[in-house]
Chain length 337, copies 2
């Protein structure tokens, strides 16, 4: 009978374990194997332990365990340019045969010739033209398939990896740690929301409804009896800088307790998150590893970290030094796809 | 030892039961006690059973079990006018002492005198003025508190119930049934998103991040070192009619498998949902009970059901006849608050 009791207790422990992921306030496992045993790793574990301790003074109810993550430069790399722009370049080339006029029309002509710098000399207007030509005009489901097909095969020019293999292994482990402790994680990115949704669940475990990003307008149409949403060449929302707290409120409707970013585009998201009452956590990924990744901050045109670098100390935001704090940067490949 | 085995099996069964709510594909309990044993109840249970049957041909993976609900007239009553408008009236009266100019300025003067009809004679412009005067100018957190305080005490002029006690008991049971079967439920309402979020989780079990609604613009500001979002007197998004599929795509990013509405404002949401591939479910609450609630459809200015009434049959959407299909309309009070 003692053996029986033991088995029953085991079963109960197992059943409690299942609950823990969603409901209980017992801290789940956070091994973070790719993190060196430095202050950064300890700070993360301390925060998670603090807000999940069942009878602790800083317990955050599971429903309020909202964590927001920038994407470019925080969850995956962003050099030598935002990965979404590689998508734009590839799409222009793919679509060029249907647009003979692009041969003589900038910024398209330059891109077809392979001269990205010349194409971007046209500044924001040129960028807008490229975005709309490649992101609008189709239905939402057609666009989803275009992204899905592209991301399955497109590779980074320097590393030769799939772009989805250029996510940061330590951040994947951090996401798992938060998920195991009842956190709901959201991406809050300046990138296009519909560019991220087709792969965010597979790669990060973050479902489409927890992705916030920039968007163009869409319009509902009946084509015959078929219901579609058509993507229009008109900006709807820019989810960057002061737009990030706005996007968070629009889509989540409550203030996060933890925010993770890497650039000045994340400054207001960090301010908004960590200014709330109760325990809060702000983290900045600092790109310090020119050998294994890239090293950049104040002077980079992509992912500039300047104002947020100045403000981090007074706000108590945690700096992650990629070179010192991360054992590995990218996942071993082949990763699960 | 046989007794022991029995206890262990019970424990395992119990642990499986816990999983069912989130992960498994075993149909959970759907007693729907306030539903009469008619076609409507059977159709709901059949659909839920079909899409959750583990080895069935129509299994919908838990991540894709997205169900969308209109609010006014579908989850709670909407007569003699949208409940949010009672909030507007009360706010105008509360704010009037700070706005002496309103005494002679329409539409405010009419409302202060208690003449709602005269106030609304100004049409959309008057309504817009009233909305902005009562919904903009404060921070998002101040507005949340205003709504929370109002909804805790404001009562319906005819029934004397709190507005949150005028939710439909059979629909609460339907929400529970879906939650028990791994569905993620969203409100998709023409009403203000920040008017619903402060009480949607308590009343419906639907958290703020699963509420989609109309909105005004907000702006991020630092007031000293304090981070706030200020509500601006400018429309951001109207989540009604063809706006509903747009709002669904913006916030959820995938097509729902089930949609629940009651009026022409839900027509496109029903079209968008039920036009998807695989098993789909569309339901229209038909207000047929003048005695226990209200009876209205084609000729009502609030919650008009006309085009969707014509289209329902060819689309196979289920009609719920409130008079015949529902044993009770509202919850027994006092309900849990």
């Amino acid at each position: 009978m003692i053996a029986c009791l033991f088995v029953v207790l085991l079963s109960i422990a197992f059943s409690t374990g299942i609950q823990a992921a969603d409901l209980s306030s017992e801290p789940g496992a956070c091994p973070l194997p790719s993190w060196n045993d430095n202050v950064a790793k300890k700070s993360i574990i301390d925060f998670v332990t603090m807000v999940t301790k069942a009878d602790g003074p800083d317990l955050v109810p599971p429903a309020e365990r909202i964590a927001v993550f920038d994407n470019d430069g925080t969850l995956w790399a962003e050099q030598p340019m935002y990965f979404q722009f590689f998508f734009v370049l590839d799409r222009v080339k793919t679509l060029a045969p249907q647009h003979p006029e692009w041969k003589t029309q900038e910024p398209f002509a330059a891109i077809i010739k392979g001269d990205v710098k010349a194409a971007l000399a046209g500044g924001e207007k040129a960028l807008g033209q490229l975005m709309m030509a490649t992101h609008a005009g189709m239905t939402s489901e057609e666009f989803e398939k275009i992204v899905r097909d592209w991301i399955a095969t497109a590779r980074h020019p320097k590393t030769g990896r799939l772009f989805t293999e250029m996510v940061y292994q330590p951040m994947l482990e951090l996401l798992s740690c938060l998920h195991a402790n009842g956190f709901k994680t959201f991406i809050v990115s300046g990138g296009g929301v519909e560019f991220m949704r087709p792969w965010s669940e597979r790669v990060y475990g973050i479902p489409p409804e927890q992705v916030i990003g920039s968007s163009i307008k869409t319009k509902f149409e009946l084509r015959g009896s078929k219901a579609v949403l058509v993507r229009l060449p008109e900006i709807n929302f820019i989810d960057d800088g002061p737009g990030k707290p706005v996007g968070i409120q629009m889509q989540i409707g409550r203030r996060p307790v933890a925010a993770f970013g890497n650039s000045d585009g994340d400054l207001q998201m960090l301010q908004w998150t960590t200014d709330g009452n109760g325990p809060r956590f702000g983290l900045i990924v600092h790109h310090t590893d020119a050998e294994r990744e890239w090293a950049y901050d104040r002077n980079s045109s992509i992912g500039r970290l300047d104002k947020a670098l100045d403000e981090a100390q007074s706000k108590g935001w945690l700096f992650v030094d990629m070179k010192k704090d991360w054992k590995t940067i990218f996942p071993d490949i082949p990763i699960k796809n």
